[in-house]
Amino acid sequence: MYSKALNTNQIMRQVMYALALGVVAAYSFFGWGVIVQIVLAVVTAIAVESAFLSIRKHPIKPAISDGSAALSAILLAISIPSIAPWWIVVVGVAFAIIFGKQLYGGLGNNPFNPAMLGYAFLLISYPLQMTTWAGEFLGFSQAIDVVFNLSSVDALSGATQLDNVKTQLALGKMVSELDVHSISQAWINLGFLLGGLYLLFRRVITWHIPAAFITGVAVISSVLFLINDQIYIPVQNHLMLGATMLGAFFIATDPVSGSTTPKGRLIYGFLMGVLVVVIRVFGGYPDGVAFAVLLMNITVPLIDYYTQPKVFGK
């Protein structure tokens, strides 16, 4: 009676596999820190989720083995700088699992994307640590030293390209005077784009949200670029910098907190894409994916209610 299609555990695993390309790209530019953060995050997630499940007197094994906690942890880990101190990722993941998921009743009941809730919490609380990125490839022992505060990070660190551009523009520089490209960011985005296409191919996600998201980013950034190409960066840079592709294929497509109707998904993705650029350009933070996701999560019940498909015979 049961179909041979993917079950929920397999869906979560497929998403993890699809993340691999992007993670490899990030590793090749930032080094072992990326991997250390992921391991820390997953361990924390499993520990916190188990602890909470036992407090709630729920069976632990089925919930852990569905992989949802680990997936949220990985998504958060790859969103934060690879050289952030260990407690950043621990606090963030714990917050995501407890306040983003378990307090609402666990998997399937959370109105917000847990990983992005954790990220927003960290960004607001620890802006310095959350915006200091590795400037070069770090070996394993070097990464361990940095993450566990055994040596100073100053020499190795830098800001992201989006952050740089934002600061420079704020100082009155023109876009034409700046280098708005970033090889590392482009490769990482490409990795996530390919991973996302794999998810589409495996039918883990539908095309609606990523397509609408990318369209949203492209439309609003073209409009801005056409208005003034000296203070707004070009479309291709918006698409290939920051967390655009990760957001489009892996974050916005979180089914639990996202819109669920076909038409609703188009609206949800498009508005999210628009918000990402609006927050990047006009907001106080260099990237806007996390806030755009959380803001759009709020609108989901409304979108879903008004985008119900036409029922047969009505």
Binding site: Y2, N7, S68, D304, V311, F312, G313
Partner: protein
């Protein structure tokens, strides 16, 4: 090939395909158990008692209920017991049943119908024969055939459903392959009864033999035979009409409201028997299939024979089995194979027991709404049904769910969605009924209050009017008295004057 379709639905390959679709005549059972509870309406009342000899086709129970048909003995023999037994039903319902032990002779009652040149018969007679022969929808719904045919006006198209309602079932396919002439003649009878201009027989595109044999026997140009894509839920009446005719039956309405009547092929064949020979429905074709039998096949078997009677003919393996009546999707699990075969038993699934995957939380992935043939959002309905928020579920069109279980089939968390929906519908019905009752009670109370108040007011008004009248009368009286007094005074005066004069 038609290109109209509905959204969703799922393509499932037949789980246990056979090379040649046959109909094997099952031997007469030693005894039959005939439940008196029918799909719709109340229990029929037995008109035989224990110890009576009965003939095949003899009426043994009947009711006056319009939605019921009489129940016939399916073998000749002796009534041995009339008692309560478990019948194949999703809630393990018990019903009064008549048990007949066979005398092995299969002696029939006398029966004559309209004969082969049935066109001289009028519609009412035909419908009477159909009801008297106990014909109900044999596709699985069990809706009485006569009730669908009586009092029809403005029927333009007759749809004959030759699609198997679910993957794995092949009894309709077998019938079309082996009795195409009776099916076509049955369609002609139905055309005569409902006065439609044309009939369309729908056959799935993987049933080439059935199509060929129907084509060979169809010489009536009012009847066309259409191939439709093999997709689960195409067999549902409203969806089939959409596929064939491109018309959507409005939600809450029936096919007849748009001038279409739909009958299953097996029902059509039974109607042929009923009208031509007035031959009661005492047997049906049942598919026996599943992972627990080595040679799945179709059996023509007497109603009331036990599942076991034909399951044993399909070479069951020695494992423990789960038994299911109806298809893999919408069928109902039954406890044992010692259940009686009834008119709606189109298929018996005998499966090796599988461990069911655990149910997980809904992650709103939306696979379900992609396969829903009526475009519902099962993920939303589930959320509200689980929380017993039936009002909100009704907002999301819960009432339109046909419980086809396509959503269950694709759910990656293995949630029994349709069960939740069926529960929520029942809950809604109950709350609306309760609400209705309280409303009635409240209205009655309010009316009583109103009535009392009205009486009070009316009385007050009446009293006031009376008082007024009395006052007036009194005033009148006073005036009258005054007048009299004045007259008297005048008289006195005149008298006095005259006296004085005198």
């Amino acid at each position: 090939m038609l290109n109209q379709s509905f959204n969703g639905g799922i393509v499932i390959d037949s789980p246990h395909p056979v090379e040649v679709v046959e109909i094997i005549l099952a031997p007469l059972p030693d005894k039959v158990v005939l439940p008196l509870q029918q799909r719709i309406g109340g229990e029929a009342i037995p008109c035989v008692s224990v110890g009576d000899k009965v003939l095949t086709g003899q009426v043994i129970a009947k009711t006056d209920d319009y939605f019921c048909v009489p129940i016939h003995a399916s073998i000749s023999g002796t009534v041995v017991i009339i008692d309560d037994q478990t019948i194949p039903h999703k809630s393990g319902l018990r019903s009064k049943c008549i048990t007949i032990e066979s005398d092995g002779k299969d002696q029939w009652i006398e029966h004559t119908g309209c004969g082969v040149d049935f066109l001289h018969c009028d519609q009412a007679t035909m419908i009477k024969y159909i009801q008297a022969s106990g014909i109900v929808g044999l596709g699985g719904a069990g809706f009485p055939a006569h009730a669908k045919l009586e009092g029809i006006q403005d029927c333009h198209t007759l749809v004959i459903n030759g699609t198997e309602c679910e993957p794995g079932i092949m009894c309709d396919d077998a019938l079309m392959q082996h009795h195409p002439r009776d099916v076509i003649r049955g369609v002609e009878i139905l055309l005569h009864i409902c006065g439609a201009q044309r009939a369309v027989i729908a056959v799935e595109d993987d049933k080439q033999e059935a199509l060929n044999s129907l084509l060979m026997h169809c010489h009536d140009d009012r009847i066309s035979i259409e191939q439709i894509p093999t997709k689960y839920t195409s067999g549902a009446e409203k969806l089939l009409i959409k596929v064939l005719l491109g018309i959507e039956v409005p939600s809450g309405k029936f096919a007849i409201d748009i001038g279409v009547i739909c009958q299953n092929v097996s029902t059509t064949k039974a109607i042929f028997d009923a009208v031509v020979e007035n031959k009661p429905l005492v047997s049906r074709i049942v598919t026996v299939t599943g992972s627990g039998v080595k040679s799945p096949n179709n059996y023509e078997v007497r109603l009331g024979a036990s599942f076991e009677h034909i399951v044993s003919m399909a070479n069951p393996n020695t494992n423990h089995h789960s038994v299911r009546m109806g298809g893999m999707m919408m069928g109902v699990d039954v406890e044992t194979t010692r259940m009686p075969i009834c008119k709606i038993t189109n298929c018996i699934f005998v499966n090796n027991i599988e461990t069911k995957p655990n149910t997980q939380e809904c992650i709103r992935c939306g696979q379900c709404n992609q396969v829903c043939p009526v475009n519902l959002l099962p993920q939303q309905l589930y959320w509200y049904a689980k929380n017993e928020n039936t009002d909100k579920a009704m907002d999301y069109n819960l009432a339109d769910c046909i419980e086809c279980r396509c959503c269950d089939y694709v759910c990656p968390s293995h949630i029994p969605l349709a069960e939740y929906f069926s529960f929520a519908k029942a809950l809604h019905r109950k709350t609306t009924e309760d609400q209705y009752r309280t409303d009635i009670a409240r209205e009655r109370f309010e009316f009583r209050e109103y009535r009392l108040e009205r009486t009070k007011q009316e009385r007050a008004k009446m009293m006031a009017a009376k008082k007024e009248e009395l006052k007036k009368k009194m005033a009148n009286d006073k005036a009258q008295k005054g007048k009299i007094a004045a007259a008297m005074a005048r008289v006195k005066k005149t008298k006095k004057v005259s006296d004085d004069v005198q």
